[in-house]
């Protein structure tokens, strides 16, 4: 009875994907990084650029298991502001072989038209078509560029996982 009465603090996981250690930024991550959805349901996964500096362009190439997931929609993020006239946003996703390519650029090359900090690049809506787990990964072609079109080193590329379960 005494042992049953003994109390214990709740174990908490500090695993917010946007909570990237300072020595691993700039980073590009999925948020949430782990999802579990019923079969034929959808999950919205955000793609974030974390603690970037003077970024004017992004190419994010994401792979997923097309046997399990299907991309329903991809929406622009607010990294380069809410006004869509200031930026270009192109998405090319192919369920075979399961790749999404997002190109997101600031228009112009002035100093004021670069972005620093953390912001959402895009929101991707996945649909679970089959039971199983699919990883989400940024390929090596994912890159950030500054106003001079020079690549910015991405120190950390986050990974994601969507687990589709039988209802």
């Amino acid at each position: 009875m005494i042992f049953l009465l003994a109390c214990q603090a709740t174990e908490l996981d500090y695993d917010n994907p946007l909570d990237v250690p300072s020595d691993e930024v700039p980073a590009i991550v999925f948020e949430p990084s782990i999802e579990q959805i019923p079969l034929l349901s959808s999950s919205l996964i955000n793609v974030f650029a974390v603690e970037v500096e003077n970024v004017t362009g992004i190419r994010a190439e994401i792979t997923y298991d097309n046997n399990i997931l299907q991309v329903s929609d991809v929406a622009r993020g607010d990294l380069f502001g809410q006004n869509s006239q200031n930026s270009l946003f192109f998405v090319n996703f192919q369920d075979n072989p399961g790749t999404i390519v997002i190109d997101y650029f600031y228009l112009g090359n002035s100093e004021s038209q670069s972005v620093s900090g953390t912001g959402k690049i895009a929101s991707i809506l996945f649909k679970g078509n089959a039971v199983g787990a699919s990883g989400l990964e940024f390929t090596s072609k994912t890159e950030l560029v500054d106003k001079d079109d020079i690549q910015i080193n991405i120190r950390s590329r986050g990974q994601g996982n969507i687990d589709v379960i039988q209802q």
């Binding site: 005494i2 603090a9 709740t10 908490l12 500090y14 946007l18 909570d19 955000n46 900090g117 953390t118």
Partner: protein, 481 residues
């Protein structure tokens, strides 16, 4: 025929006895081994040895040493059991310098034992006394019969304890030997108390479960030992008297009067241990004659029997009869396990021991303080843990890095506080538990003992009064039933 040389040697050996015999006026007696008919020799030897050992207790005759008897018989080339005639016994008795010789036989027929003993006068060669005993039971029961036979062969009345032991038997519905002390009068006259005690004793006898020592025998023993019954109210005194009477149980008690209400308290305790075996009390309000019925009913209840309907129908007035719950160390321990100090209070209410009075509050106070601290600590734990979880939810949902860091720092802080409080709470839980266990242990070790715990059939140590040694003794007992 006995030859002369043997006779001379024997005479020299018997000289010390003859010399001793001249010093004391008591006649001497020698007991030959009895002939065994239908049971082993060793059993008969044991029985005769019991007869021999009882003879000195009679103080009527002196017993010739068995070794001496054996030596003389050996030298004369005789077997004890072979010397069955009066003439042989007389001759040997003459050699031993004994005035009397006892011989006899022990036989078994079915489940009945028979003992025949005869005493021969050495000087005349005549039989002076014969006794026969028939006994149904085990051979062990014959031991008492042999002791009684020793007294009867001396033409003396066997002592009461022996007769009571004989009456006790060894059957399934064993009767117990009981002596009833006069109930202590409180608010009534001594004469009334004696009358009611007599009625109680009579009814006790009527239950058929008790063998009572009559008042006269008890008074004789008490007077011989210099006891005054009125002054013998303590259990120790009663136990001593009981030991002298040879009874297993003593009953004493008190009859009180408060206004129109009568109270009867009776206690039966074991003489051997001094421990109370049964306590009964009754409170009665009504006419005086109804009290007699209550006393009679109490007698049945004391023997663990239901009073007959004829008695219960006679009941008058209002009766509050109860058997006080026997206080046990286990009961004290259980109480203190639940609430520290309760067991000490329970002990105090029975022992009036001042240390129990102090301890009950000390234990209760310490437990209350620990529980209060535990409550505070637990509340702090709940608050910190709730805060940590709430902040953690914000942390998980935040997308702003500064907010994330802020939430993480705050949540971690609360989480650390919660862990510290949880640890403190756990220590206090164990402290409270330890307090309960210690208090329980303390209540058990200082719990009611002796009479209050005597009904417990578990193995136990008891500090009991030994009336034979006239001092307390520590006794370990195991109930074998």
């Amino acid at each position: 025929m006995i030859n002369y040389i043997k006779f001379k040697n024997t005479l020299f050996k018997a000289l010390p006895i003859l010399f001793m015999g001249s010093l004391f006026a008591q006649p001497t007696v020698a007991v030959l081994d009895f002939a065994a008919n239908g049971l082993p020799d060793y059993e008969v030897e044991t029985l005769v040895e019991r007869l021999r050992s009882e003879i000195p207790n009679t103080k009527a005759m002196r017993l010739v040493d068995r070794k001496m008897l054996e030596n003389i018989l050996k030298e004369q080339g005789l077997q004890q059991s072979g010397c069955t005639t009066e003439e042989c016994a007389a001759e040997i008795g003459e050699l031993l310098g004994a005035q009397f010789m006892i011989s006899g036989s022990v036989g078994k027929l079915g489940s009945t034992f028979s003992v025949d003993a005869k005493m021969v006068s050495v000087s005349t060669g005549e039989m002076t006394r014969t006794k026969s005993v028939s006994f149904d039971g085990t051979v062990g029961g014959l031991l008492i019969e042999m002791q009684i036979l020793a007294w009867e062969m001396m033409d003396l009345k066997p002592p009461q304890p022996l007769l009571l032991q004989r009456a006790g038997g060894d059957g399934v519905d064993k009767k117990v030997t009981v002596a009833v002390m006069d109930f202590d009068p409180r608010g009534i006259s001594m004469l009334e108390a004696r009358t009611l005690t007599d009625r109680f004793a009579t009814e006790l006898d009527a239950t058929g479960r008790a063998i009572l020592v009559d008042r006269r025998s008890m008074n004789e023993v008490m007077q011989e030992q210099g006891f005054d019954e009125a002054g013998c109210t303590s259990e120790e005194c009663a136990a001593e008297v009981g030991a002298l009477l040879g009874v297993e149980f003593m009953i004493n008690g008190a009859i009180g009067k408060l206004g129109d209400t009568y109270t009867i308290d009776a206690k039966m305790f074991e003489v051997a241990t001094g421990a109370a075996s049964k306590t009964k009390n009754a409170t009665y309000t009504g006419p005086v004659d109804g009290l007699i019925t209550e006393i009679e009913i109490l007698a049945w209840e004391m023997m663990g029997l239901k009073a007959p309907n004829t008695l219960t129908k006679k009941r008058k007035g209002t009766i509050v009869s109860e058997t006080p719950k026997v206080k046990t160390p286990g009961g004290a321990a259980l109480r203190s396990l639940l609430i520290p100090g309760w067991g000490q209070h329970y002990n105090f209410s029975s022992s009036e021991n001042p240390s129990d009075a102090t301890k009950r509050w000390l234990h209760f106070g310490m437990d209350a303080a620990l529980i209060a601290l535990l409550g505070v600590s637990y509340q702090a734990f709940l608050t910190s843990d709730d805060d940590a979880v709430a902040t953690h939810i914000n942390y998980k949902s935040a997308t702003d890095t500064q907010q994330i860091e802020s939430y993480r720092t705050t949540s971690l802080g609360h989480n650390e506080d919660a862990k510290a409080s949880a640890q403190q709470t756990n220590i206090l839980i164990f402290a409270v538990a330890a307090m309960h266990l210690y208090s329980s242990y303390d209540a058990f070790t200082n719990g009611p003992s002796g009479g209050q715990a005597s009904n417990n059939k578990n193995s136990k140590f008891d500090l009991v009064y030994n009336p034979n040694l006239k001092q307390p003794e520590l006794r370990f007992s195991i109930a074998l039933d």
